[in-house]
């Protein structure tokens, strides 16, 4: 087990390092940051001065390693636009995004798992067909459009919910639904598939044969086994969700990390963009790492991988 964790941890670190290098290179290769920072009316001397001030005149690998060393100490430099340390900016904005992500994944699990279980108990029933329809339609629904529909319906027409901001829990209802629905189809399909497989297994037949009640069979015996892969999928989806928060936060004007990403990309705020790409991918790496360890702990057969 320890060997598996160490091996998996090494891989995670290597992936994180590569991601940070690629994201740094992508933004480095894409033009002269000094020129865009200096603005339209800058002279060549201005550009050269900025280039020297920010150290853009050094070789790329030198810039990367100094950036990485600082980043490891939690220093992501200063935001060009906000004139604040990127680290404190991130710490502040990530709170909203984390809260939103937790709400989103909880919503997805609380709706998709029961639906998947019901669909599996009665295959080809109306519930099963409804669940299938939801999962096919859900995958095709553009999240930004879905968000705007909700605003039109619940904020403009019915006036039940506020359209933007973070003041009360009511502000989080629509963002939660829009962020969460995207993870639902995959979770539901996996729950349904897992339940169908487990329900046809020998130990379920044994449980039924010894006279266990149907509710006990379903929850104590079937769901507990079917839910294992769902846990790791949920962790992966949580990582994806933080990326999806860019769209949701810009629609509902939530000032989280996703909104910060959009702001800093539009304003060419390179240190912030680089830090955000790194932080978002770190979240994904950490979540998948935890999911793999959890899976290996629950299912010893996975430990060989």
């Amino acid at each position: 087990m320890l060997k598996f964790i160490l091996k998996r941890l090494g891989l995670a670190l290597l992936v994180a390092l590569t991601v940070s290098f690629i994201s740094f290179t992508l933004l480095f290769l894409s033009g002269d940051p000094a020129a865009s920072l200096a603005g339209e009316s800058a002279t060549d001397q201005d550009v050269a001065a900025i280039r020297e001030l920010y150290g853009f005149d050094r070789p790329m690998l030198v810039q990367y390693s100094s950036w990485l060393m600082d980043a490891l100490r939690g220093d992501f430099g200063e935001s060009y636009y906000f004139k604040l340390p990127v680290a404190s900016l991130l710490a502040e904005r990530l709170q909203v995004t984390m809260l939103l992500g937790l709400c989103g994944i909880s919503f997805a699990l609380l709706t998709a798992v029961p639906l998947g279980v019901l669909a599996a108990i009665r295959p080809n029933s109306i519930i099963d067909r409804f669940a299938l329809f939801l999962s096919v339609a859900g995958q095709a629904l553009p999240s930004f459009w879905f968000g705007l529909i909700l605003i039109v319906a619940f904020s403009i027409k019915l006036q039940w919910l506020p359209a933007s901001g973070t003041a009360t829990w009511k502000h989080f209802i629509m963002p939660t639904v829009v962020l969460g629905y995207y993870a639902m189809p995959a979770i539901m399909r996996l729950t349904r598939g897992g339940m169908l497989e487990v329900l046809s297994s020998d130990y379920i037949r044994t449980a039924r044969a010894k006279g266990a009640s149907e509710g006990r069979v379903m929850f104590k015996h079937a769901l507990r086994n079917a839910i294992i892969p769902v846990v790791s999928l949920a962790a992966v989806q949580m990582g994806f969700m933080l990326g999806g928060s860019i769209v949701v936060e810009s629609i509902f004007a939530l000032h989280g990390a996703g909104y910060l990403a959009w702001e800093s990309i539009s304003r060419n705020d390179l240190p912030t963009v680089q830090a955000l790409i790194l932080v978002f991918s770190m979240f994904y790496i950490v979540f998948t790492f935890l999911a793999d360890v959890l899976n290996a702990w629950l299912d010893p057969r996975m430990r060989t991988g």
């Binding site: 290597l14 992936v15 096919v136 553009p142 930004f144 459009w145 860019i246 769209v247 959009w262 994904y284």
Partner: protein, 303 residues
């Protein structure tokens, strides 16, 4: 002597010989699959519209008419002059939607082709050669999955300048992960089959084995992933354009139309509803087609 009913007297063995050919059975499954038929039908119509856009569009999608701005669609009290109304610059909404189909389909097809070539090459190489090649490819897939697609695409498109070409290439270079994963797994499944061993035994070269023994047998999975990634690319382009960092105005992109309509949403919600609905229908059709193709071509999952 009475006439015997031929259908009843054919013995099972003969039935197997004169029965439906595999091609006929495939056709039977295709025409019995509702989702597949709907998906292909809708996609066909949209493809037709995209190809013949200049003939079908009632107006020039770029022509502004500031005197006739925000005319409502015909079902909200508008006139047939502009069946779906006009936008904030007086451009005919229907014509922009029709040209928008070109943008979406072009992005879907080209981006999926680019990522398909990259991902298939990586996946097949990893599955076929195994060992170090497999280790490297698996690592690259892990790296790619850890990169937040929307964020990276937004950032790169923003610094390269948003144009149709840039968006297509960036999406093409980002969306190869599922191709690599699926093609690797499919190749692993078939590479130990007898026909591959037989081809090797008669001295076929590696490229020949991959091209004429492996590829035809994993092509069904490839087609399914192509449809999924087409839908993915189309949705991502719409997201980028919606956020104002994808295809730039005045290009008629559906995501951009939703974004432009957003400011007038309070009074004219149809400006947002119509392009979003068309986008939803297109992606739904592609997904239905992909799910359907998987059902009718996967022999083991057939019920």
């Amino acid at each position: 002597m009475t006439m015997t009913n031929l259908d009843q007297t054919v013995d099972p063995l003969l039935q197997e010989i004169v029965g439906p050919t595999p091609g006929q059975r495939l056709r039977g499954r295709v025409f019995g699959h509702m989702g597949l038929l709907i998906g292909v039908g809708v996609l066909g119509v949209l493809l037709f519209i995209a190809i013949f856009a200049p003939l079908l569009a009632p107006h020039d999608p770029y022509a502004q008419a500031l005197m006739s701005r925000m005319k409502p669609p015909v079902f909200l009290g508008g006139t047939w002059e502009h069946p779906l109304g006009t936008d904030h610059l007086g451009r005919d909404y229907l014509s922009r939607l029709i040209y928008g189909a070109r943008v979406s389909l072009m992005i879907g097809v080209i981006a999926a082709t680019i990522s398909g070539v990259i991902g298939t090459a990586m996946g097949v190489a990893a599955g076929y050669f195994g060992g170090r090649v497999d280790t490297v490819v698996t690592f690259l897939i892990n790296v790619r999955l850890a990169m937040p697609v929307v964020l990276v695409a937004l950032a790169v498109v923003a610094v390269m300048g948003g144009s149709l070409q840039v968006v297509i290439v960036v999406l093409g270079l980002l969306l190869w992960d599922r191709f690599a994963v699926v093609m690797r797994a499919s190749t692993l499944q078939v590479r130990r089959r007898d026909y591959v061993t037989a081809a090797r035994a008669i001295g076929a070269s590696t490229p020949r084995i991959i091209w004429s023994e492996i590829m035809p047998n994993i092509a069904n999975n490839l087609i399914v992933v192509v449809t999924l990634e087409m839908a993915h690319a189309i949705l991502l382009e719409a997201v980028l354009s919606f956020l104002g960092l994808g295809v730039q105005p005045p290009t008629p992109s559906w995501g951009l139309m939703v974004s432009e309509g957003k400011n007038m949403m309070l009074f004219e919600p149809w400006l947002v509803m119509i392009p979003g609905a068309v986008l939803f229908v297109l992606v739904l059709a592609i997904n239905l087609m992909g799910d359907g193709l998987r059902d009718v071509t996967a022999p083991e999952d057939r019920s």
